[in-house]
Amino acid sequence: MNDTLKTFLTRKTGVIGLVLLALVVALAVLAPVLYPASPWEITGVPFAAPGEYGMLLGSDTLGRDIASGIAHGARVSLLIGVASTLAALCIGVVLGCLAGYFGGWVDMLVMRFTEIFQTIPNFVLAILLVAILNPSLWTIILAIGIVSWPPLARLTRAQVMTISTREFISAARCQGQSTASIVLRHVLPNAISPIIVTGSLTIATAILIEAALSFMGLGDPNNMSWGFMVGAGRTVIRQAWWMSVFPGLAILITVVAINLVGEALNDALNPRISRS
């Protein structure tokens, strides 16, 4: 682990990503302290340019503080990004283990299913799911989880397949350990590092999907989110560029940070792959 950490820290881009990510997380954690009022509350003059009336990033069409919206939006974006990735991991890892460990017809069935899920336009399915189940934090997390699992399932399957052929797995089998125990205690721990890397990159995609959903008007109506802010500001972009520029920058910075960390993590955890 110490070596992994050291490799990670020698990657300049990884450190930059980590710092940016730490800033976003800090913003999310400190949002209620920095901006105790609800981000929906009107705190100033409408259409205030950045810096005017004590509002760092200006106000929106109703006079709500953009900076406050961005801080509170960070909570929603990170929460949905992480939670929906966990949901995708649950589906993907279980299906991948089934396919990879049992092989044969189980494998064929699971992989056909995965392929079909990979073909269908996943953003359209997410729209459909959220629209029909009504937008809320939970339905959004569920929808993004449902459309994000296929790459994780394929990766898990490939990993589990290679590791199941190793000698120590045969040894465990000879000892009479149960299948569940073999998979959970011997196969998965050895298969996990690329899954962690892909999972971390999935968080970034999930944040982008969430932003696009709330931009389309399918965000949780009780939570301020970055995509919603861009969507609300776009109609007045001629008069007030700041309403759509800053929330979008927040999305961009967060996603870049996560991608940088994910790539550095990849180099640290899978040294063989990155060296070739």
Partner: protein, 325 residues
């Protein structure tokens, strides 16, 4: 003979996918809060009881689930996608008249992303480690993290509002009906530039990164060393000996991403008021017009499969080894 078999396998795959999607639609309608009939009717505020009864009878909603599913699949196979109570039109008609703008947009973006990605990736790969490589790689990293809708807005801000070079929204000018053919084509093309670039950008970033590593990989292969030993110029080695080999994985990947690109088109069409399937999706979301949404999901999935077939074709053109098989 093998060709026919291959096409047969593809068609079977297409049929299986349509059945799975129709089944997903069916499950969704029944897992929605409330009466499935009112979901199928578009859950309008003042629901017409008579229309609801019609929907119930048409889809046999008093029958067991399995019979209902059969009825629904039967309708889908006949391209009967239901009736939009809100728009008072057949869903299939609504979708068909919006198909062309979406095809134009996605195919333009697809070509742009692929060509741009292969070009930039080859450039970066040949100069690995130099400043132009670093610049291209950093650009790709940033583009890859940019939300599509925001990129579209920023392009509007710069090229339409600040510079006034290109139209900010729509498919053609208002007076386009009176234009000559050539004038009409250039008019639509000028409206197409910003949406197509917004949609292409993120994928171009992905393909650039892929192409870069692919070129680096190919440059270590024996046949390239031979070409270099023969004294060929670097440009000729790149064009004749590396480009095709290196672009194969990029094209495969591009085909796999067709679904994501059509999803991106939904957002781009929303930003630019482009009158295609994506704009229709946005309107249907706003009005909670479920029959239209369900139909769109089905049709867009079929489009993805067709794009997959198309990339398969391109792949065979580039790699004659496969075509001979």
């Amino acid at each position: 003979m093998l060709q026919i078999r291959r096409i047969g396998v593809r068609l079977a795959g297409l049929a299986a996918t349509i059945l799975v999607i129709a089944t997903i639609n069916f499950i969704l309608v029944h897992s929605a809060p409330g009466d499935p009939a009112s979901v199928m009717a578009g859950q309008s505020g003042a629901t017409d009881e008579k229309f609801l009864a019609e929907v119930r009878a048409e889809y046999g909603l008093d029958q067991p689930y399995i019979v209902q599913l059969g009825t629904y699949l039967g309708k889908v196979v006949q391209f009967d996608l239901g009736y939009s109570f809100r728009q008072r039109r057949d869903v299939a008609d609504l979708i068909m008249e919006r198909l062309w703008p979406t095809l134009l947009l996605t195919l333009t973006s697809f070509t742009l992303a692929l060509a741009g990605g292969i070009f930039l990736g080859a450039l970066a790969g040949r100069r690995a480690g130099r400043w132009s490589d670093t610049l291209i790689s950093m650009g790709a990293l940033l583009l890859y993290a940019t939300p599509v809708f925001w990129l579209g807005l920023m392009l509007v801000l710069v090229f339409s509002i600040q510079l006034g070079w290109l139209p900010a929204f729509g498919y053609a000018s208002i007076r386009a009906d009176s234009f000559t053919t050539w004038h009409y084509i250039t008019d639509v093309a000028s409206h197409l530039v910003l949406p197509a670039v917004s949609l292409a950008a993120i994928y171009m970033a992905v393909y650039t990164r892929l192409m870069r590593s692919s070129i680096i990989e190919v440059s270590h292969e024996d046949h390239v060393k031979t070409a270099r030993a023969k004294g060929l110029t670097e440009g000729r080695i790149l064009r004749r000996h590396m480009l095709r080999n290196a672009s194969l994985p990029v094209i495969t990947f591009a085909g796999l991403q067709a679904g994501a690109m059509i999803g991106g088109a939904v957002v781009v069409e929303t930003v630019f008021a482009w009158p295609g399937l994506g704009r229709l999706t946005y309107d249907a979301v706003l009005q909670r017009d479920y029959p239209v949404l369900l139909g769109l999901f089905l049709v867009m999935s079929v489009l993805v499969i067709l794009v997959n077939l198309l990339t398969d074709l391109i792949y065979r053109m580039i790699d004659p080894r496969l075509a001979a098989r």
